[in-house]
Homo-oligomer: 157 residues x 2
DNA sequence: ATGATCTCCGATCAATATGGTCGTACTAAA
DNA sequence: TTTAGTACGACCATATTGATCGGAGATCAT
């Protein structure tokens, strides 16, 4: 449950790779093509291509056509949050259906719903979490997120 | 994305209802049967029944058979966390596949994977969040969760 | 200019997960 | 013993997801 899709996984891997090449020591500024990433991480080429297309359409990366072409981060790794990446691939991230709810369809339970408010709170918290962590944080070195005290008051699992 | 299933939704609603009846002012200690909940929230009866069965099998609620039967919380609402409820219905909550990974199948990307560690961190944080909030918190009144500073350093959406 | 290489884009298919249904067996109260 | 209720397992339909295929446009090297 709460699993993120493979596409999103691939997106994260690809972006991490592009970022590390682009800002790495070896060949800074080099563009990275789809094939290179697909082979490196054993991802089906066609699927990865589609994922990258979406990322590019959403302005996270820039595409350069033709031979010697490839992809480049559209902005600094510190300015790309995990939330943006995930939303770019999987649409708005909402725990509940009723959080966007266009006026045609709303859930039958709505008026008697007793869990809407708390769920929205949880959703918010998760969003904060994902939006406070950037691609830059994933490049290693720097501490990731400040996890609220792991003093699990509850039960083990 | 990150959506929780309808079953989990139903579970939360049902538990909230049971708790509020059981600890409410009107008829404290009363058992609640499936039909009552299904009608109150317009949930398909059969599906809800199955959800409640699972919850009961997992020890979150107690079932009482026969006429005048129904369900009862197995322990105090404060001792039932949201994480427990969700896991009870949807299995272990893991963002990534590679977090449990029995030794037969592990992902091809594993050894080159560059996003495993950060993803596990995120997963932990979400788990903390869900495990620090109890059914009791959903009953209203009491403040829900302490959201870590919403000082969004990043971009709006 | 021409061909090779690459991205772009849309359509499509298969597998899996999910939401929902049905029928029956079992239990306990009246 | 009848009846109202839960317990349980098999089952189907549909939606989502993962993955594939084919062609159109762009760009660089020759």
């Amino acid at each position: 449950m709460l699993k993120i899709s493979k596409k999103a996984d691939y997106a994260l891997m690809a972006l991490q790779h592009i970022a590390s090449v682009q800002f790495g020591d070896i060949t800074p500024g080099r563009v990275v093509n789809t094939k290179e990433i697909a082979e490196e991480y054993h991802i089906p080429l066609e699927l990865l291509a589609k994922v990258l297309q979406v990322l590019s359409k959403n302005g996270l990366i820039e595409s350069h056509n033709g031979p010697k072409g490839g992809y480049l981060l559209a902005r600094s790794a510190r300015q790309i949050t995990i939330a943006q990446i995930l939303e770019s691939i999987e649409g708005p991230l909402a725990i509940t259906d009723c959080s966007h709810e266009k006026d045609g369809d709303y859930c039958m339970q709505r008026e008697h719903c007793n869990i809407r408010t708390p769920l929205l709170k949880i959703q918010d918290s998760i969003y904060q979490l994902l939006n406070n962590m950037t691609l830059g944080d994933m490049l290693g070195g720097t501490p990731l997120i400040t996890i609220q005290s792991p003093s699990a008051q509850g039960v083990e699992r």
